[in-house]
Amino acid sequence: MATSAPVHAHAAPQGFIRRYVFSLDHKVIGLQYYFLALVAVFVGMFLSLLMRIHLIWPTAILPGIGEIKPETYLSLLTMHGTIMVFFVLTTAPQSGFGNYFLPIQIGAPDMAFPVLNMLSFWTTFAAFVVLVSAFFVSGGAPLHGWTGYAPLSALTNSGPGEQLGADLWITSIALFCVASLMGALNFITTILDLRAKGMTMMRMPLTCWAWFVTAILGLLAFGVLLSAGILLLLDRNLGTSFYVPLVVVNGQPMGHRGGSPLLWQHLFWFFGHPEVYIAILPGMGVTSQVLSTFSRKPIFGYKAMVYAIMAIGFLGFVVWGHHMFMSGMSPYSAFAFSIMTMLIGVPSAIKTFNWLGTIHNGRVRFQSPMLYAIGFVSLFVSGGLSGPFLAQPVLDIPLHDTYFVVGHFHLIMGVAAIFGIFAATCYWFPKMFGRMMNETLGRVHFVITLIGTYAIFMPMHYLGMAGQTRRYSQFTEVPYMTRLIPLQTFMSYAAFITIGAQLIFLINLFWSMFKGPKASDNPWEATTLEWTTATPPPHDNFGGHTPVVHHGPYEYSVPGAAKDYVMQTDPAGAAAH
């Protein structure tokens, strides 16, 4: 490893507060994001548990909670969606793992703006606290869904949760937008300016490319959501009419006129669809990394993978209208959005085939990170295949607002991204905590979660095709839906088992953190820069030095090389081929 000036922007902090609470170290901040997402995912999962219980036992009295009323059910789904999308799927893969490993993977001592990084985390934390506090205010949490459609969300008397609870929801989203913008700014600047010598853009691991494009998406999308949220707050509290037309509620005119609910939909989905890729792209990056490492093969088509990430990012910005086929848009617009949406299948297929090509004929090591990465590919394909159906207006119109859509997005955006988080956790756990996770617990958790996930979400496609609408709290007395109750019951039991299985992951995580066997610096025999440094990495990541990069990130099974992998920093490996 060549060396140059050993410098770092800030010295290693000594006190507990500066070291673990208001830390400027990207690794600590990455872990803070990770554990925030961990808390959030269990809160979100608990809400889904309540929903699944209510769906099959609608009159059940739950201890400590009581009976779940229809409006409570709507609050549960609103908060479940918001927590999961923002504080889990956006937070852990990008802000958590990205913060921890992006600087190390490009050979930097820290993020470009450490103070901004700390502010970004604590703003996210505040956003989470504000959101969860909506449960405890008068009227409770909002019931307008995570998409916050107006005019339901824009009127303070449209439901019990639409008073202070909805204001807190909007405030939380606005705070989250600001935090995400700060984070995106940091990611982009870090990648453009802090790469180590020899780390050209085309030598970056695909994880870094994924974080980079995700940051660009966030940079362009969250500003729009912020403006949309401000308009919503003004409509709710200062009497403007951006989203609210002439509305009469309970015989009372609301004093608004001329606004357009569709304006909210356009602004929201201009953010909302890129958000899907903000959630999934980092998972794609981790999957590429893990599949290559555990197949002992270079990633198949590195450049194609990079261009596919870019194409997905670009196309993600021009397809928002496919969420609005039911809004009465011009058929020509719908056609354009439909074509663009189906076009996304092309780079997605490139990535999928390249993953399969990477595994093909590899000397595959079926360890838990690899299992989760394969699970990611499986769920991505299963969820993705229903995408082209929904991309066509003629099919989307009957399927819209049914369980078909719920099954689709949970598989491709929700659980696939979660499997990306699992893969990343198992893969990088040794580097983060210096210990190995328990392999047996990992495998058991993987099998139950994968089967359970399919058992929960695949039947939703059939429910949707059978006409079962989403967001309804009770359907046990709707004649045509009663025949679907056995399937709903099956899904609920599958959910109970799958949610219970997550305790295995939790136990494995915390037990291994303290009791797992000690990890070596490079337990997976991987090639990228994080595996060249100590475990866990020192404060400045490389112990006073900066690495010099000689290779691409996936030099496995290189002919003539001494081992079956060549580290990115290995100058001898350069001579070998």
Partner: protein, 245 residues
């Protein structure tokens, strides 16, 4: 036409965004890639960060502008005639006041640039000043930073007066869609400008605490570029509100 010259020497020009180090990006082998080597790199990084940060600010205003255009063309249901009608009622903008405010902001952009060049020169001369026995005279410098902040504050006061004038003419925030957008766009712009003013004040105040001139220069340089952007943004918003009213 530098490419036609047999010998071309490119010297980063102080005060023209040149910076003090030749630009080299990480990863190309041209730079040490070691993170935080000197103020030149930090300045370049801060400028890059600013350039990146301008994107979401632009997206924020573009989304508001697109909402404005959509709303302007939207028919509204009229309960009296039971038909859809166009109800866009342009706000009677206080043009003269807004022009004066624009002049104030233009002047502040100019003084911000003078402040930026002044501190760039001071930073460049700082190493010479530290040599024992070398004197460059007693250059105190005109307080362009404070003048910029004052002009910026003048702009904000002017905008407040323009709001009052609009209110006097019967246009409040919730009067109609047009006035809602006028208040919203001007308020959002004002908040962005106030943020820049706070940073400039910070740069002025830290000079009292003997912060290194190079560190202050980074703050002033980046904020001055931000200030220019805010000025151009205002020109865009003003033109938008006037010509698309």
């Amino acid at each position: 036409m530098a490419s036609l010259s047999p010998v071309t020497v490119s010297v980063p020009e102080a005060g023209h965004g040149g910076g003090s180090t030749p630009p080299h990006y990480g990863g190309d082998g041209g730079g040490p890639g070691d993170g935080y080597p000197d103020y030149g790199r930090r300045l370049r990084r801060a400028r890059l960060g600013l350039a990146v940060a301008l994107a979401p600010i632009l997206m924020f205003f573009v989304s508001l502008a697109s909402a404005y255009i959509v709303r302007q063309g939207l028919p509204t249901f009229d309960e009296k005639s039971n038909t859809y009608v166009r109800d866009w009622n342009p706000t009677d903008l206080p043009l003269a006041m807004l022009l004066v405010n624009t002049g104030l902001l233009a002047a502040s952009s100019l003084t911000a640039e003078l402040a930026r060049r002044q501190i760039t020169r001071q930073a460049a001369l700082a190493p010479v000043r530290s040599i024992p026995g070398v004197s460059l005279g007693s250059e105190t410098g005109f307080p362009w930073l404070y003048v910029t902040v004052l002009l910026g504050a003048g702009f904000l006061v002017g905008q407040w007066l323009a709001w009052q004038e609009m209110a006097n003419r019967g246009y409040y925030l919730a009067t109609n869609a047009s006035s809602s957008f006028v208040y919203l766009l001007t308020a959002a712009h004002g908040i962005h400008l106030a943020g820049g003013a706070v940073v400039l004040l910070y740069a002025a105040v830290v000079s009292l605490f003997h912060k290194p001139i190079e560190a202050r220069r980074i703050v002033v340089d980046v904020t001055a570029w931000y200030w220019h952007f805010i000025f151009l943004l205002w020109v865009g918003i003003f033109a938008f509100l006037w010509f698309l009213r």
